[in-house]
Structure formats: C-alpha cells, structure tokens
Symmetry: C2
DNA sequence: CCCACTTGTTCCACGTAGTGGAACTGCGTA
DNA sequence: TACGCAGTTCCACTACGTGGAACAAGTGGG
C-alpha cells in the first residue's frame, strides 16, 4: 500500500462497533454453552442469546453448530438443553479430581458439624459447585449449580474483599445492590466498610443477608495470581447456632480455604 | 468492482486444504477443551494439540485464549489443566439433573446388587459418566471420566450394535480391534456376529473381553433420533456370579436403558 | 563439546468463516 | 385487523483465525 495520503477516509467511522465486549467466535460459542447449561430447564433461543450477549441470528447459528457437534441438545419447540458431549466433558472434569477437594470439604464439615459449600466466582455471581449437608435433619435451599449475588453471601463478600477496589466499584455501579432480605447491605458505604473488615479478619459473615434464618461464614480461595477464584463457607441456621459461635469456625475455615487454593 | 476479466487467476488453487476434518474456530476450541479435560493430570501443549487434532500453533493460540477466559488454567512448565470457569460449567451441568438419572441407576443397582455404570458414546470411545459401587467389598478399577474402547466393553458393543453398519466397518478399518485380554474379539467376523446377536437380544455381554475376571451386561441408550448416545451396564466378577446368572439382569437393565433415554 | 532432536513461542500473508442487521414467517393477543 | 414477538433465513463485508515457517531454549547422545 504505497504512499497515498488522499483517499480512504475510513468511511464507516466507528463502524457500528460491536456492542461492547463481543469477543471472537470461540468465545461466543462458550458463552452460549454456559447459557444453555444455566439452571432452569431447556432454554429458548431468545433467552440464550440474551444471556450470552450475542445477537439472535448469531446465537441461532452457533446453537445449530453446537447441536450437531453434540454439545447441545435440541428439545421440542426449539428449546435448547445440555447435550451428551457436554455431559461427558463435565464428567471428565470432576472425575479427574477424585480425592483432594472432597477430603478438605469433608474435614471442614466434620469439624464443624454444619453444611459446607464450595463456590466459584464467575462474572457477577458465584456458582455453588459442591455442597456437603451437615448432620442436622433439615436441608438448606441451596443446590449445586445455583448462582447467587456477590454482595449478599459470605463467599461473595469474601471474593469482593479480594478484588481490586476499582472492580468492586464498577460492579456496584452496573448491577447495584439488590435487596434480598431486610438485612441485605444496600448502600455502597455499608458494603465497603464490611469488605474492609473482611480483609482484616480474613473471613466474611452473612447475617441473614441472603436468606432469612440463615447465617454463614465464608473465606475466599485465591488463585495463583492472587485473584480470588471462589470460596468456601459454613452455613448455619440462626435458631441453632448463636452468632458468637459461628466465628469459632474461622480457623478451620481459613485452613480449608488455603488448602483448596492449589486445587482450584 | 467493474468488468475486469483479466486479473485475479485465483492463485492458491486447492490451498493446502485443511488436512481433513478440521472444523471451524469454535469447534476446534471445544476439541481443545476436551483434550485439556482428558484424564491424566495437566497436559503439555504438544499432547493437547495432538489429541485435539489441531496444528501446534493453533493449539497454542486457542489455549492462550481459553486461559484468559478462565476455562483453562496454565500450570507451571506450560502445562494446561481445567480452569475454574470450566469447573463451574461442569457443576451447572450435573447440578441441573438432581433426580432422574440417579434414581434409575440406583434402582438398577439395588435390584441387582452389583456395580452399575452409565457411559456416553463419543468418537472412538465410551466415557463413564457415573458409577455406583455394588454391595461387594471390592472395587472395580473403572472410574468416572475413564474412556474405554467400543469393541471390548458391554456398553460399547451395545452402542456399536445400534450404529449404521457402514459406520461400524469404518471404525474397524481405521482403529482396528486391539486386544486387551485373551477373550477380546479381534476379528471383524466375530464382532459382526456378536453385534447381530446383541440386536436380537437387546443387550450385550462382555465376557472378560476388557478386563480379566470382569463380566458385564450392557444395553444401549438411544437418543431421540434413534442413534445411540451411550449405555448402561451391570458389572460382575467371574468368581461370584456365574455366567448364566448375569443374563437374568437383562430385563431390569433394559428397563433402565429405556427410562434413561429421555434424560440423556 | 557439538549436533540433532524436541518443545514452546512468535510472526505473518492470506482468504474463509463468521458476523449481525434486515427482512420474512407464523403465531398469539389486544 | 393490526400489532408484537419468537424463530428462521439471507447476504455483503471484513475481521478473525489459519497454519507453515522460523526462532528460542532445553535435553540427551555420540
């Protein structure tokens, strides 16, 4: 392209520019895959497209491709669900991790006698990836695969506390702090104050901020780069475990969080 | 681009043409992801590239992208392992399926008292995605996530029996029939004869063809299109369950296979 | 000590594969 | 009947991925 300063004024300008963070082929496919696997039965095209932040026509094409690769399964009435190949992949993932994680969580569960959760941080939420019921005869409503906000859960707040403050502010600005119970922290000030406390103590508390009658203590699990990748928590019911007692779980909890770091 | 018939002779010709079944961007990324999740610790770049059938340079680029999306985790010495985001996806997948599959397999396990396997068919192998130990005090060597050949296992043969004969012949031609025990069927004739029997009976037997002292009975699980997507099996040890007895499990096995069809 | 071989990494010219807006269809509803 | 919404098809444009080749860094053998 030899010296030709005159022409080509770059006509399109910004060129309608890729709504925001569009990402490339493969990236979109993976987002679509996550959207399909999201809790709540087989999903409709429009919902998948929205959840994956992909134009409908692209979502359609991508889904068609995923379907005939076997990762996604097309159910009646053009709904999309998890396909066999994704299921096999999933089995590979947690089949390869037989010992470590389970033992650490088991130890924590035995030493506290309470329900234990392991969750991973992704985007604006945490996702429970493992749950061990405590000895008690009731069951908490949580479920593996469920997503929860960051600002209402012990694990979520532990994660937030280890994120750069800039990112926290950005999240608060975009998603706000929706209330889930009377105790939910809904002002940035209250949240920031708690995060500061979390950093100094090394653990976070959820005092009926996510579900009434449920109190949790959580600690972040840090990845190799120091960024939080998820967290562990011990869950209790208010009428059995007084507020002071739950903090006694902190040492065991923090030990578990540190032991998990190299495994996540 | 006005009438200009002269130039542009389309130089490249066939253009070194995509070795064979290359597939597109997203497809490759997914194959790479599967390769990374494959059993056997964190993998080296070269192995991933080979397993995914992708040129090394492409694998490198794809892996880099997967790493900073969080699906793959880069371990020391440039080895690649499962990342947190893939783990979360995996939790979503089998968290969404709380009841159905587990109950069907549990029933089969209780009614037979033996170890039960559920496997999915993918490519040249089956992958175990669930395993319920029998009441017996020993453990079979199988593991969730493990892959097995088609022609040596009960589930694999059940799958083969429901595949178009052309595809079976093609597989035999490309991968052959490697021997794993003295009983393994290693000639196409022997295999075809058995597949015929499988079709007429509705179940397949593995008589120490995959592991010595292990005898299985398996049935295929068919997808909505009639294609087999996987299979269930009951596994026994030769010195406890005589050959005749294992066939008595067939009715319960077939019932389980049919019940599973709409859930896979 | 050097050479041959392997593995991870970078580079780049090329053209295909993916893109997403717009238009079309078909259904249910106000 | 007119409207809105979901799924599906179409298409011109170009950004994106491609993969061979060259480079860097180890590793082991003769």
């Amino acid at each position: 392209m030899p010296t030709n300063g005159e022409e080509d004024p770059v006509p399109g300008g910004v060129r309608a520019g890729r709504s925001s963070a569009a990402g490339s082929a493969a990236e979109k496919s993976l987002r679509v895959l996550e959207a399909v696997a999201a809790p709540g039965g087989p999903h409709r095209l429009t919902d998948v497209a929205a959840a994956a932040a992909v134009p409908k026509s692209s979502a359609f094409r991508i889904l068609a491709s995923l379907v005939d690769q076997g990762f996604v399964r097309q159910e009646p009435e053009s709904r999309y669900g998890v396909g066999p190949r994704l299921r096999a992949l999933s089995a590979l993932v947690d089949g390869g991790q037989p010992a470590g994680i389970g033992r650490i969580l088991g130890d924590l569960q035995r030493s506290t006698g309470q329900t234990v959760h392991l969750a991973l941080h992704s985007g604006e939420t945490i996702t429970y990836i493992r749950k061990l019921e405590g000895g008690q005869p009731f069951r908490t409503a949580s479920r593996v695969g469920l997503r929860m906000p960051l600002h209402t859960t012990a694990i979520g707040k532990a994660v937030l506390a280890h994120l750069p403050t800039g990112e926290v502010a950005e999240r608060v600005a975009t998603t706000g702090l929706p209330r889930r119970t009377p105790n939910t922290l809904t002002t940035p000030q209250a949240l920031y104050a708690q995060l500061e406390a979390v950093r100094s103590r090394g653990y976070a508390l959820d005092d009926e901020e996510n579900e009434p009658t449920i109190r949790c203590i959580g600690a972040a699990v840090l990845g190799p780069s120091g960024r939080p990748v998820g967290g562990v928590s011990v869950t209790t019911v208010t009428f059995l475990v007084p507020r002071e007692e739950i903090e006694s779980y902190a040492p065991a909890l923090r030990a578990a969080a540190e032991a998990l770091a190299p495994l996540l």
